[in-house]
Symmetry: D3
Subunit: 337 residues, 6 copies
C-alpha cells in the first residue's frame, strides 16, 4: 500500500449554518481541514495510506483536531504536538449574488507556523513516505515553514520518493509584490517536484512564462510544456472554472504527461460547498498516477471527483473510486433504494 504524506497546516473551520451571517446567527459548526488533510483523507478513501505531517497544540482543540483526522481515515502517527494555537477560519455561506465570506484568525501564531525545524526528524519522516504532497498555501506562511518544506522534499527525493506540488497561489497571503516575493520559492519547489498542480495563470503570474495569447486553452498549451521542461516535471494538471449565470459552476480538467495534453469534458453542476474542490482534483490525479491509469482516464476521474466535491458538506470530500466512476457515467440519479 503506497504511503502518501502531506506536510501542511490543519485548520479549524467554523461555519455559520444555513445562510445567516455572523451578525445574525449565534451558532457555528466546526470541522478541521487544510489542503494536506483533504488530500490524504481522499487518498485514504481510495485505499492508500494517507498521513499528515503537522504540529497541533496539546489543548482540547488539538485533541479535537486529531480525533477528527482519525475519523477521516488519516494516519495521525506523524503528527507532532506542541505550541499553543490552531489556525482557524470562519465561513459564512453566500447565496446567489451574495458571495460567501472567509475570515481568518491569526494563523501565523499557530503551532504549525511557529514550530521549530527541529520539531521534525526529516530523514526519519522521509523513510516512511512514498509520495509527499506540498502546497503553495504552506509556502506563503513564513521562512521557517518554507525551509521545512524544502528540506523535507529534498529528503524524500533522496530516499527515492516522489514530490507533488500544488501551486495554489493565494494573493491575500503574499501581499503586495507577492508574485515577486513568491517566485524564487515556487521555482525551488518546482525543481523538487515530480507532479505539479497549476494552470496557465500560475505560469504567467508567478513564473512569468507565457503571455499575450488569445484564449486560456492556447495559453495553457504554450505555458505548461515550457514549465515542465524548465523544471523537469513529469506530470502537470489543473482545472479551468467558470461560474454560470444560473448559479451552476463548470469545470474542465487537463493533464499534461509525456508531452501530451488530455482534457476532460466540461462538467456543469450545482454547488453545495465549493471549498476543497481543487484538493479533490489533485487527490484523484495522484491516485491515477499511483494506479498507472492512462492520463485520459485520470483527468476524467479527477474532474468528476472535483465535481462531486462540490456536492459534499465540508472541505474534505470523501468518496470511493466507484462513486467517482458512477458520477462520470451520467446515469440518471434517482434516489438509491
Amino acid at each position: 500500500m503506497p504511503r502518501i504524506a502531506a506536510f501542511g497546516e490543519v485548520m479549524m473551520r467554523l461555519q455559520v449554518p444555513g445562510y445567516e451571517t455572523l451578525v445574525q446567527s449565534s451558532r457555528l459548526e466546526y470541522s478541521f481541514s487544510g489542503t494536506g488533510v483533504n488530500v490524504t483523507a481522499a487518498l485514504a478513501r481510495y485505499g492508500h495510506n494517507g498521513a499528515i505531517i503537522t504540529t497541533l497544540p496539546e489543548t482540547p482543540l488539538g485533541d479535537a483536531a486529531v480525533a477528527y483526522l482519525r475519523k477521516l481515515g488519516i494516519d495521525t502517527s506523524l503528527v507532532s504536538r506542541g505550541g499553543k494555537h490552531l489556525g482557524m477560519y470562519f465561513l459564512e455561506n453566500g447565496f446567489g449574488v451574495r458571495p460567501g465570506r472567509v475570515t481568518y484568525t491569526d494563523r501565523l501564531g499557530s503551532s504549525f507556523n511557529t514550530a521549530a525545524v527541529s520539531n521534525y526528524d526529516m530523514a526519519a519522516l522521509a523513510s516512511r513516505i512514498d509520495v509527499l504532497h506540498l502546497c503553495g498555501i504552506t509556502l506563503a506562511m513564513n521562512e521557517d515553514v518554507r525551509k521545512q518544506m524544502k528540506r523535507l522534499a529534498g529528503e524524500v527525493k533522496s530516499a527515492g520518493g516522489k514530490v507533488v506540488f500544488d501551486c495554489n497561489y493565494r494573493p491575500s497571503l503574499w501581499g503586495a509584490d507577492g508574485y515577486a516575493l513568491a517566485r524564487p520559492h515556487y521555482e525551488e519547489l518546482l525543481q523538487l517536484a515530480d507532479t505539479v498542480m497549476m494552470n496557465e495563470q500560475d505560469a504567467q503570474f508567478i513564473l512569468g512564462i507565457g503571455t499575450g495569447e488569445y484564449d486560456r486553452i492556447t495559453q495553457l498549451k504554450h505555458a505548461i510544456p515550457e514549465v515542465a521542461e524548465r523544471f523537469g516535471i513529469g506530470t502537470a494538471a489543473g482545472t479551468h472554472r467558470e461560474i454560470n449565470d444560473n448559479n451552476t459552476h463548470s469545470l474542465t480538467g487537463y493533464i499534461y504527461h509525456q508531452g501530451r495534453f488530455e482534457f476532460s469534458r466540461k462538467l456543469a453542476f450545482p454547488v453545495l460547498d465549493r471549498i476543497g474542490a481543487g484538493d479533490a482534483f489533485a487527490s484523484a490525479v495522484i491516485h491515477g498516477e499511483l494506479q498507472k491509469y492512462p492520463p485520459q482516464q485520470t483527468v476524467n476521474m479527477a474532474a468528476a471527483a472535483a465535481m462531486l466535491a462540490h456536492t459534499i458538506v465540508g472541505d474534505t470530500a470523501l468518496f470511493t473510486e466507484g462513486e467517482v466512476l458512477r458520477a462520470l457515467s451520467e446515469h440518471t440519479l434517482d434516489v438509491e433504494r
Copy 2:
C-alpha cells in the same frame, strides 16, 4: 364517508438532516411512513376515512408510530399490536450528481412481516372497508404476508368492496429471477383488483405483455388495454418520470378507463423530497374515482398532487383538494400574506 383501508407495513424513516452523510453527521430526524400510510393519510386529508391495517410492536417505538399515524389523520383503530420490531430505513439526501441513499434495517423481522395470519380477523375487517389498498412492496415480503393480502382482498370483494393494487415492483426486494418469482403473485392480485397503478414497464417485465415498441407512450397504449382485458380491471393509471439536466424532474400522468386513455400535461418542477410521490398520485386517483370525477380531471389532479408531493418534507404528502387545484392553475406563486 367512504372508508378506505390499506394493508401494509409502517416503517420508521431516519433521515440525516441537510446534506451530510451518515459518516459525517451525528443527528437524525425520524418519522413513520409506508405506502399504506401515505395513501390513507392523503385520503383522510381529502375528507375520507383512511385506516391502516398493520401490526406494530408494543414498545416505545410502536407507541411513537401510532401517535404519528394519528397526527397524520389516519384511523388507527384497525392496528394490531404485537411482535417485537419495526422496519426502518435510513435516508441520506443527495445533492446534484450525488444520489440520495436508502439503507434498510432487517425489515423481514418486523412485527408486520412476522405476524401470523390469525392476527387479523379478515372477515370482520372486510366488513369495515369500502376500498382496500394493496401494494407490490408488501407482496414482496414473504409467503405469509402474501397469503394475508390475498385473503383480505378476497374477503373485501365478497363483501362488495373495491380493491386497488399498486404494482410498485422493487427489484431489490425480489432478488435474482425476481420477475419470474413475482409473476404468479402479481397475476393473482390483478385478478382481484378493480383499480391498478402500473405502467408499460410493469406490464412487460412482470407480466410479459407488450414488447418491441418504439416509444413509451405507444408501448403503454398497447400493453395497458391488454392487461385490463385479461384481468378485468376497470381503471389503470400511472406516471412517466424524467430527470432533467437542471436537477428538475418531469412527470406525465395517464389514466385508462372504459377503453379510453387520458393524459395530464407534462409537469416540470424542482424536487425537495422525492419519496412518496407515487403514493400521492395513487391517492388522488382513488379520490377522483370516489368522487366520480371525469378521468381527465382525475389524472390532472393526480399529476399535480404528485408534483406537489415533491415539494413537501417527508414521505407523506398532505394537502387539500383546493391546494392541488391551485397548483394546477399555474397562478404566480408569490408568498401568501
Copy 3:
C-alpha cells in the same frame, strides 16, 4: 448625520425552519421586523441615524423586540413602552409550486395599534427628525393610527423635514371595498409626501389614475407624472417584479424625478427570503436622495439592494453601500478568501 425616523409597528416573525409546515414541525425561529424597522435599520447600515417611533409592551416580548432593534443598529430612544401585546406573524416557507404562507395573530390588539394619540409628543418628535418614513400598511390599521400618522407628518413638514410615503397597499388589510375606503387616506398622505414609493397599479387602483394602457411601462409613464403633479411629489420610485419559470424572480426599478424617468437593468436572481425586498429598495432610494446621487445611480443601487435583500435571511436586509455596488458590478462571485 441625517436623522431618519419611521413611524410604524414592530412585529414578531415566527418562522418554521426549513421547508416543514406548522403541522409537521415543532420549532420556530423568531425575529422582529416591520417596514419601519427594515427601512431605518438599512439606513443605519448606510451610515445615517435611523430611529423607530413605535409602542412596545412592557413584557419579556417587548424587551426582546427592543434588544433586537438595537442589534440591527436602530436608534430606540423614540420607542414608547405600554399596552399589552405585540403583533405577530407565522411564516411557512414555500418550495417550488408550493407557495409560502403567512398567518397573522390579532395585530389590531397590539400596543402600537391601541396606543392613544397622547402617547406621542408629536412636536418633540418632529424636532428630532430630518426624514420621516410612513407606509400604507400602517395606514390600514385603524382611525387612531391614521390620525397619528397624519399629525406626525404635518409636524415634520412644519419643522422643515421631509416625508417619504410607501404606498404598500395590502388588499387583505383593507377588506372588501378596500380601495374606496383607502383612497381619501392615501390622498391625504400623498399631499404630505415629498418622496413616494408606488407603481402604476397603485395609481390605478387606489387613486383611479391611468387605465387602459397596453403595457406596464407605458402605464407607468402616464400615471406617475400625473400623480406627481397632482400631489406635488418630488420623487417617485418603485419596482416591477416577475416570477420566472425556473423559480428565479426578476426586478426592474424605476425612479421619476424632476420630470424624468430612469430605469435600472432588469435583474434576475434566485430567492432565499422574499419578505422585505421592497423596503430594501425604498431604503436605497432614500439613501440616494440624502447623498444627492444622480437618479440613475440611485435607481441602480436600489434595484441591486432589492436583489441582495432576496439573498438574506429575515425581513431586514443589512448591507453597506460597498456591498450593493459590488452586487451591481457583476464580478464573478467565487467565495471571498
Copy 4:
C-alpha cells in the same frame, strides 16, 4: 369505554429551549395544550375515550393544533372550526432562584373565546358525554363562555352524565376584586358538579368558607366537608405543594369521599416541567372514580401521577396506569434495558 369530554380552550405553548430568555434566544419550541387537553389526553392514555369540545381557527395554526391533539390521542370529532385566532403563551424556563416566566398573547380574541353560543349544539354534545370536565380558567374568560359552560353542564346533568369541576382560580385572570366577581359563577358551577378539584384556599378565598385555622390540613378538614354539603358534591380532591430549599418540590394529595378524608404520602421530587401537574392529578382522580378504585388507591395514584407529570416535557403528561403504579412502588430507578 366511558366517554369523557372537556370544554375548554386549546392554547399554543411557545417555549424558549434551554435556559435562555426571550431576549437572548432566537428559537422556540411549540406545542398545544390547555387544561381540557391535558385531562382528556391523560384519560385517553388510561384507556378511556377523551374528547375536547372547543373552537379552533381555519388557519395553518388551527390545523397544527388539531393534528397535535390527535397525536396526543384525543378524540377531535367534537372540535368546531371558525374564528380567527388561537390563544398563545410564551414560556421562559427558570433556573434555581430565577423563576420561569409566562407571557400571554391576547387570548380573549381567540376562536374559543369569541365563539357564539350557537356554535355548539349543547344537547347533541351532551348525548355523547358520560363525564364532562370544566375548569376555573375557562370560567374566567368572559360572560359568553361562562354561559356556554353552564348550559353544557346543565345538559350533561339532564342526560344523566357527571360533571367534574376544577376550581383552578387564577388571580391574574379575574383582576382586582376578582374573588367577589368570581364567587357567584363558582357557586353555580359547584351546584352542577359531582366531583370537584379544590383545596382549603379555594374554599376560603372564593367561597368565604373556613378561616382562622392553624394549619392547612386542619383548615382543609373544616372547609371541604362544608363545601361538599352545601353544594352536594360527591368527591373533592386536591393537593398541597411545597417548594423545598434544594429545588425539589413536595406534593401531598387528599381526597374527600362519602365523609372520609384519605391522604397520599408526601412525595418529594425534582422538577423538569411544572406546568400541567394539577391536570395530571385531576385526570387520575377521574380515572380512579371511573374504575371505582378505593379512595386511598385513587389519591395515591393521583399524587404519583402529579409527581410523574413534573418529570415530563410539556404541559400534557402521558403515561399508563402501569407507569404510575411503578412510580408509586419506589423501586430503584436504574435505566431499563
Copy 5:
C-alpha cells in the same frame, strides 16, 4: 505498547435528545458503542493500543461505525466487513422518578451475530493480542458467537496472552431459566480468564456460589475467593452501586488479587449518562494491571474512572490517567481558565 483487543458487537445508539420520549420528539443523536468499544477506546486513551475484533456491514451505516471507532482512537485494522445489519438501540433519557428506557432492534440479525466462525482467522488474531477482553453480553448472543469467543480465548492463551472476562449478566438476554442456560458457558469462560469483572451476585446467581450472608461485603468476601480458586483467576474486581434519594448514585469498587481484598472509598456523584460506567471501571482495572500498579491504587483509579464516566455524554468515556487522578484528589472544581 501492549496490544489489547476486544471481541464483541458494535451497536448504534440512537438517543432522543433532552428529556422528551420517542412519542414526543422527532430527533435523534447517534453514536456507536458496545462493551468492547468502550474498553478498547478507554485503553487507547490511557496510551495502549486498543483494537476491536468484530464484523460490520458494507453499508453507509457500517462506514459510519468504522469512522466513529477511528475517532475514538480504536485500532480498526481487525474489523471484518460483511453481513447486512448493525445492532441498534434507542435510548430515552429518564428524569427523577421516571426511568430511562432502552429499546433494542433485532440484534440477532446483525453482521456480528450472523458471522460464520470462518470469518475470523483466530490464530492470526491471537498472534497480535497481548490482552483479550470478552464480555457476558456477547456470550448471551448465540451458539456460533459463543464458539468464536471460546476459540479465540483459547488461541490467545496458547499464544501467551491474557484473557479478561466481564461477567456482565443481562437477564433480558438469557430469558427464562437464563441462569441455568448460562452457567456452563460462564464456567468455560472463567476457566480461560486471568482477570474477571464480577461481584457476589454473579457468583451466587450464575455459579451458585455463596448464599445466605447478611450483607453484600460479607457475601463478596466469601464468594469471590472461592470463585478465584475454583477457576484459577488471578484478579477479580467489581463495584457495588447504590441509588440515593437525591438522584445521585454511589459506587464502591473492590479488587481481589493474590488473596487480598482492597476497596475504594464510596464515591457519591450526580449522573449525566449512566451507560458505560462499568466498562470504564473495567478499563481502569486492566490499565492498572498492565502498569503493575498496587491493587489499592488500581481500585481507587477504577472507581474514580467509573464515577467520571457518569459525567460524560455517551457510552464511551474517554479521559487520561491525569484526569482520573484529579477526580480522585477532590480538589475544588471551579471552571479551569
Copy 6:
C-alpha cells in the same frame, strides 16, 4: 443619567452546547463578552448609560461583536475599529466532578491588545465619563495596554470622574513570578482608584498585606482597612465563594466603606453558568454607590446579583433592580403566570 465607561477587551465566547467536549461535538454557540462588557451591560440594564472603550477589527467578526454589544444595551459610540483579530475562548461545560474547561486563542494579537496608544483620544474620552471601570485582566495584557489604562484613569480623575478597579488577578496570565511582576502595576492602579473589588487573598498575594490569620473573615478585616488607607480607597468590596458537596455554590459578599464592614448573608444556590458572576457583583456595587444606597443594602443586592448571574446563560447577566430585589426576598419561586 450617569455615564459609566469600561476600558477593556471584547472576546468571542465559543461554547460547546450541552455537556459534550470539543472532541465529541461539532457545534458551538457564540456570544461576545469581557469584564467591561459585563459591567457596562449590567449598568445599562439598571438604567445608567454604559459604554465600552475598546478596539474591534473591521471584519465580519468585529461587526458581529458590535451588533451583540448593542443588543446588550451597551453604548458603542466609543468603540474604535481597526487591527485584525478578536480574542476568543472556547468553553466546554463541566458536570459534577468533571470540571469545565476554557481554551484561549492567541488574545495578545487581538485588535485591542495591539492598538496603539494614539488610537484613543484619552482627554476626549475622559470628558464623556463619570465612572471608569478597569480590571486586572486588562492589566495583565502588555505594557502598551497598561499605559493606556493608566493614562485614561489619570485623565478621568483630572476631569473629576471616579475610577473603579477590579483586581481580578489571573495567575495564568501573569506567568511565573507573576505576583512580583504585577505588584507595581496594581499599586499604581490602586492609587488611582476610588472603588476597588478585591479580597484578602489579593491583598496578601499581590500587595503582601496581611498574613498568618486563622480564618478568611479575620484576614479580610485586617487586610482591607490597611489597603484602603495606604491607597486612599473609598470603597472596597468582594466575595468569598465556597463549592459545596451537592454541586451548589455559596457566596458571601462584603463591603468596606468609611471604616465599616458590612456582610451579606451567605447565599447557597445551584449553578448554571458560573462565568461573569464576579462582574455582576461589581456592577451592583457600582449601582449601589451611584444610587447612594446604604452599604448594607448595596452588598445585599450585589450578593443577590452575583447569585442570579449563576442562573443565566452566558457571561453577561442582565436583570433589573426589581429582579434582584425579588431574588433577595426569598419568596417561593413557582412559575410566574
